[in-house]
Symmetry: C2
Subunit: 339 residues, 2 copies
């Protein structure tokens, strides 16, 4: 294991003016720090998309119907969603795991698709707990299994993504519950919401968090389960297992950041293995990343989810790792530093 001082010294020894690769050097340093080596690795890698439906959609918190979840899963598996395209272009394996949608089982390759239904959608968290602690444990376990399988198959870097109409609502609840975000910051428009939808969403989120909060200290899992989503919990379990195995994790957007908050709460220190792929235009995302102490690779006002914010960062991580591996030092050139 190497310290930050060794990493900075090495970056400053390379054949370039000091600091002249800007943020690319910061990313290289982060990879080196996570992996404890001056030769970090970013491949092979996989993005696992966890999908589920949300009972809270019936409370009118989103512009899109739940049926879109199923249609988008089929599109992802057909290689024609944004995430499939970005996975392909960045040489990242993609896999979709259904932990609780209302859709039918699909006919797809088993290395691409797994159906592991914890329950068929969450309950409407506006009215009752979204899931039980037993559901939470099951979803967490599916996520953990996925991380362990990927690592066993050689992956050295992992990311997760989400598919589930309505999932910015439970994510906003988690942001309020675990990162103390005010409701106005935690609740954003998600995949699209007009003023009336936004007003309902704020009421639902603040009401549910008020019910969950008293449980947080003594029954944190129950408190989180009451406002979460199945794909969010599976992602949290996935991150926890990857972090425990020492694997580098690339976060996606707002839903992914909410999952990371759960991971860090239940397995403190997991954030040390994480890189934030991007910061989205969903208002609460930047605030969660600040809470986690993570600086995003890109700030491009993306807000699609589906792992796209992690996938777009992958070639930039490759570039950062390659600099550390392959660049000459000034000493190799026989030149002293002049700046």
């Amino acid at each position: 294991v190497i310290g930050r001082d060794v990493i900075e010294k090495y970056l400053d020894s390379l054949a370039k003016p000091r600091g002249s690769l800007g943020r690319l050097e910061r990313i290289a340093a982060r990879l080196a720090e996570i992996q404890g080596t001056l030769a970090p690795i970013t491949k092979p890698r996989r993005v696992v998309l966890f999908a589920a439906d949300h009972g809270v959609v019936e409370a009118g918190v989103t512009a899109w119907p739940s049926s879109v979840t199923e249609l988008m899963i089929a599109t992802i598996l057909a290689g024609r969603a944004a995430s499939s395209v970005l996975a392909n272009v960045s040489n990242t394996e993609l896999r979709l795991v259904d932990v609780g949608t209302r859709g039918q089982e699909l006919d797809a390759d088993l290395h691409l698709y797994r159906r592991a239904i914890v329950r068929v959608g969450t309950a409407n968290l506006a009215l009752e707990p979204a899931m039980t602690v037993a559901d939470f444990d099951k979803a967490w376990r599916v996520g953990k299994e996925e991380a362990c399988a990927a690592i066993g198959q050689g992956c050295r870097l992992l990311a997760a993504g989400d598919m589930g109409i309505g999932n910015t609502t439970p994510s906003a609840c988690i942001a309020m519950l675990l990162a103390d975000l005010p409701c106005e910051l935690a609740v954003g428009p998600g995949a699209g919401a007009d003023a009336a939808v936004m007003a309902r969403k704020r009421l639902v989120v603040s009401g549910s968090v008020a019910r969950a909060l008293p449980m947080l200290t003594h029954e944190p899992t129950a408190a989180i389960a009451s406002v979460a989503g199945l794909e969010i919990v599976a992602t949290a379990g996935f991150y926890a297992a990857a972090a425990q195995a020492g694997i580098t994790i690339v976060l996606d957007g707002f839903i992914s950041a909410a999952a990371a908050l759960i991971t860090e709460r239940l397995v403190p220190g997991s954030t040390r293995r994480m890189i934030a792929g991007h910061v989205s235009s969903e208002s609460g995302h930047a605030a969660i990343l600040a809470k986690l102490g993570l600086e995003p690779v890109l700030d491009w006002r993306m807000r699609l989810g589906e792992g796209t914010g992690a996938l777009i960062a992958m070639p930039l991580l490759d570039a950062a790792a390659a600099l550390l591996a392959d660049m000459a030092t000034l000493e190799d050139l026989g030149v002293g530093r002049c700046d």
Copy 2:
């Protein structure tokens, strides 16, 4: 040829919330607009690094000696410079063309390296014109030959980079001369400059521009030649030929932007084929891009040159092009837009 309205409509028809890929959609739109098609192409591609030395180094405008130019060329050709590493990781062909260094001819593959010395370094622009109009024409022609050769060999996207200790000084002159930048904004620290070096650099730049300015209207080439660098002029010729052939051009940093100003001045409209790979931390760069009407792909405070700011953008352009080529539309899914 298709218009902006068609491009925007197509982006809004894809299976994602409207605008949810943020800047990635803007880049896709720019590629489509430049190439006049909804299926833009980003490969095969090449970055040509033009190298030269600068007489003005003897005026004490930089922290590094001219001998570093030659050492860095050898490092680039050995595949161990930042640009070689980023070219390799982004599947971009790299080639170095020496248009006027003081270094020896190197032994390297002819597809990697060309020696086409216009003159051995420029004259010291603090005291006399950096080059004659005949030198300017020769350097321009080398750049043009390189663009034509690359296009003939199948390249669909071209970038240029620079190697030449001292070249932010002529670039600052060009920024003042052609983009009306004030001296304080045009002159930055380059590869490293303390307060004393910066003060000398400002004096040299403002003095040289004052001499060049009266010629600008009637003898623009002579005015530009008097404050330019050989690699900058070769880059300008390279851009002009690429633009005339309708090829997509990716700009690098401050030196590249200065070259683009020359191209646009002598071949108006060339900027329509250009994408800015990044905006550097060199103070004048953002101002030149604003003048050219170009929005950078990345704002990462890089300032290395050598084509690195163009190369780091390449995989992001690939991602943008892939979205247009491969994503499903909402109509394919049988869903109406809800946002």
